[in-house]
């Protein structure tokens, strides 16, 4: 069943690899085989060690023990550049882009085009990038600065960059976490085209349905250990999940359509911004989850940011419990009981250099302060531990720096931050980005509990099944307008897609 029984030399062979960090054994005697021409899915819970293994392959960390073989030849990977030279190309879970440079400059950094041997030729560079995009079927502007791209587009830049190398082994660490279904299609298509008898792909994802679509085999890690490998065609998500978590996960079904006639907690009327939004109106009631669907750039994030005062709104009215309010910054929103969890975890979500518990109480710190302004560290620790347990955040202690957590566990910390604060209206923007299947269910349960406690929850998500799974009602956006608000019972993937593409001729990455 495993690759070692296979007679052919695998493209990449990993054996006996261990890697420890202080307090954490991230990898323990892990093995893995990537065969020629295959897509190998690598799965496991948050913190299972997937990214760590990939960082070893990329030359960012050196293993404590273990061997790597490329086409049977043993390797010592000395650094990122060396990995590149060996033909290992990687898309990291966290972006590694230079926001001040253009798309083309980012893609070809270190491989600049020069004219007359001295001067940079950015036109040639742009041309090369354009050729690459044409070949890959991506609608990216080579001369746009990366800083201005949405998270999804940045992801596409990373993908284009990885594919621009003449790589033999392509590693993708959760490339679709920030992508929409349409973009996922584009990506999977790219992967299929990349695959040749000389190449192989390691594909990390928490989205089970993708595995069936793209992978040939699936390798599972649990708690830093190798659990097993299955041929995709011969297994099903259920088996994979039980290998991952060591228990069965039973997802609940879509919520029964209980129309919420409670008072509108938040009403938004005719919201418009200079850039994008045009007359967005909706309300969300106490006790309900309002899902937001739409394509990339549809403006869902922008609606959220405008509501909490992170961006200026040019027109429109916001009412909290029927009372008109003006919100000019997120602090005022917080005072009114509105919280916003950003989709951009690294830039706008976590404090990487601070501890898990400090991050968890950041939004609610005032609840942990005496009248004289002293912080109650004991209670902070108690809360921190409570959420570490509740969300099963994998960390040696609540004092661990968030930087040292795996991506999915960082996301859990951000969620905990908002669960710890008593808000009436919670806006979650892509809350399950990078979260493993098991934990997703737990988070759904928590969101539902919040609603049941009488809070109004807005959930923006690019995964339609998730929106359908959780929302009482679903708002759909396209090009800055609200095109529909549906009851869950009336919604299907098909009609949501339909509304999401109203007025829309472009606006996705795919051409």
């Amino acid at each position: 069943m495993t690759a070692s029984t296979d007679s052919a030399t695998p493209l990449l062979h990993v054996e006996g690899v261990s890697k420890g960090f202080p307090g954490v054994q991230a990898l323990d005697d892990v093995r893995l085989d990537l065969r020629h021409g295959e897509v190998l899915a690598l799965v496991g819970e948050n913190g299972a060690g997937k990214s760590t293994l990939m960082k070893l392959l990329a030359g960012i960390y050196t293993p404590d023990t273990g061997t790597f073989r490329l086409n049977g030849e043993e390797l010592a990977i000395e650094g990122p550049r060396h990995a590149q030279e060996l033909g290992i190309s990687i898309i990291h879970q966290e972006f590694n882009l230079m926001p001040d440079l253009t798309v083309a400059q980012n893609i070809f950094i270190g491989r600049e085009q020069r004219s007359a041997g001295v001067f940079l030729d950015d036109r040639a560079l742009n041309r090369r990038a354009q050729e690459l995009f044409d070949r890959l079927g991506l609608a990216l502007d080579p001369s746009e600065r990366v800083e201005q791209l949405t998270v999804a587009r940045q992801q596409m830049v990373e993908i284009a960059k990885a594919l621009s190398f003449d790589a033999k082994v392509l590693i993708m660490d959760e490339p679709t976490a920030a992508l929409n279904d349409a973009e996922v299609d584009v990506l999977l298509d790219l992967i299929r085209r990349f695959r040749t008898p000389e190449t192989g792909v390691i594909y990390i994802s928490h989205r089970m349905e993708e595995l069936a679509r793209i992978s040939d085999r699936v390798t599972v890690l649990r708690d830093g250990r190798y659990v097993g490998t299955r041929v995709t065609a011969e297994t099903d998500p259920k088996e994979i999940i039980s290998l991952m978590v060591g228990r069965e996960i039973t997802g609940e079904q879509r919520p029964a359509s209980t129309p919420h006639e409670g008072e509108p907690m938040l009403s938004v009327r005719n919201l418009s911004t200079k850039n994008l939004l045009r007359g967005v109106s909706f309300e969300v009631h106490a006790g309900e989850i309002l899902g937001f669907a739409g394509l990339m750039g549809a403006g869902r994030t922008e609606v959220a940011r405008a509501i909490v005062g992170a961006d200026r709104l040019d027109a429109g009215e916001i009412l909290v419990r029927g009372r008109a309010v003006t919100i000019t910054n997120p602090a005022e929103a917080a005072k009114l009981g509105i919280g916003y969890l950003s989709e951009d975890r690294k830039q706008l979500g976590v404090l990487l250099e601070r501890s898990v518990r400090e991050n968890i109480v950041l939004a609610s710190l005032r609840d942990y302060v005496t009248r004289l302004g002293f912080v109650r560290d004991g209670r902070i620790e108690a809360t921190g531990r409570e959420y570490v347990e509740k969300l099963r955040i994998k960390t040696p202690s609540t004092a661990q720096l968030v930087r040292n957590l795996s991506g999915g566990n960082q996301q859990k910390v951000v969620i905990a931050k908002w669960l710890a604060k008593d808000c009436d209206v919670l806006i979650f923007d892509e809350p399950t980005r990078g979260i493993d299947v098991g934990a997703k269910e737990e988070i759904y349960t928590l969101l539902r509990q919040l609603a049941d406690q009488g809070k109004a929850v807005i959930m923006i998500s690019s995964e339609l099944p998730e929106v359908l799974r959780l929302s009482d009602r679903i708002a759909v956006m396209a090009e800055g307008r609200l095109t529909a608000v549906l009851d869950n019972a009336d919604a299907t993937q098909e009609n949501l897609m339909d509304y999401a593409t109203r007025f829309s001729s472009e606006g996705t990455i795919a051409q």
Partner: protein
């Protein structure tokens, strides 16, 4: 481990990561964590002290150690306030000349206006806070980058000191007690000046503020990720103003102490003091990128500077060599500190 080139200066170095992880634990331990980190800088300090003690019998005497503390007091107090500012990711270049201006204002309040001692001293410290407040508003409300905002204030304060004083020193003729604030001997049979005791009290105050109060928490949060802090509903604008105002309070106090020491408000000077204070902060392990730092570190940094200056004089190193020596020692001390952190 990974080569240095793969890590951003501001970002995660494997070393600090590893280190912090070792230290991470209960909140009790967290208290210690900062201090332990500083123990490394502390080791440099000890080595420097040992070398000087060995080189001259006059170095490690009570009198001389008190002299060192006295010399460290004013810069040290400035550095305490600056630590907060730097941890938010900001900088304050105005502290030197603002301190001079506060001294002049003490002269105005006490001598020109004849206010009683407590009122004049209180007003001076508040005046320092006002300068800090204006810095904070310029930075936070008007969006002027801290470097520019405080550079502007540096120049304004330098000029105003001259204008207000009429380019003359102001003497504290109305309040002869004023000079006791810095100079009063508080330990019988020893020359231990009140000013040094005030410095020590301020160290404790600053340490508690930074690690035990909400100001300190937000100081770290803002420096760690300002945007994320703001999106968490923290009124970042207001807290930044508070931090600069707090730094201004320290500046006001430093102004009182330095004027008290000289029994006069000197309207000149102050330029360059900001670099000394910032250097103390940074030598103490606080990162100019924000988000990291400690009061213990700053105090050690200030002491390293003061001990070096004093010790080189005690062993009569020719003056032109003194700054060379200070420069080299700073480089070596910080480098060794790096090395050890990396190893741990």
């Amino acid at each position: 481990m990974s080569p240095t080139t793969t890590q951003p200066t501001s970002g995660p170095t494997p070393s600090t990561t590893a280190f912090a992880a070792v230290e991470a634990g209960t909140p009790r331990l967290a208290w210690l964590r900062g201090s332990v980190q500083q123990l490394l800088a502390f080791a440099s300090l000890i080595v420097i002290v040992a070398v000087f003690s060995f080189a001259s019998p006059h170095f490690f005497t009570t009198n001389n150690l008190v002299s060192i503390l006295t010399a460290a007091t004013v810069t040290g107090i400035l550095a305490l306030g600056t630590t907060f500012v730097i941890i938010t990711g900001g900088i304050d270049l105005s502290i030197g000349t603002a301190m001079v201006l506060c001294g002049v204002m003490a002269g105005v309040f006490l001598t020109y206006l004849g206010w009683p001692l407590w009122a004049g001293v209180g007003a001076t410290i508040l005046f320092g806070a006002l300068i800090g407040f204006i810095n904070g508003v310029n930075i936070s409300v008007f969006g002027i980058p801290p470097f520019i905002a405080t550079l502007g204030m540096m120049l304004i304060a330098a000029g105003l000191s001259l204008v207000i004083s009429g380019t003359k020193p102001i003497y504290f003729t109305e309040t002869p007690d004023f000079q006791s604030i810095m100079n009063l001997s508080i330990v019988p049979g020893m020359r231990f000046p009140l000013g040094v005791a005030i410095f020590i009290v301020m160290i404790v105050v600053a340490a508690v503020l930074l690690s035990k109060t909400i100001v300190g928490r937000y100081t770290f949060s803002i420096g760690s990720n300002e945007a994320a802090t703001a999106l968490s509903g923290v009124n970042v604008r207001r807290w930044k103003i508070i931090v600069y105002t707090l730094a201004g309070l320290f500046v006001g106090l430093a102004g009182v102490l330095s004027a008290s020491r000289l029994s006069s408000a000197q309207p000149t000077g102050g330029m360059g003091l900001e670099l000394e204070a910032i250097a103390a902060v940074v030598i103490g392990g606080t990162s100019l990128q924000g988000g990291k730092g400690s009061i213990v570190g700053t105090v050690i940094g200030a002491l390293i500077m003061a001990v070096l200056t004093n010790g080189l004089r005690i062993i009569s190193v020719p003056q032109e060599w003194q700054s060379v020596a200070v420069g080299i020692v700073i480089l070596v001390a910080v480098y060794l500190d790096m090395l050890r952190r990396r190893r741990t």
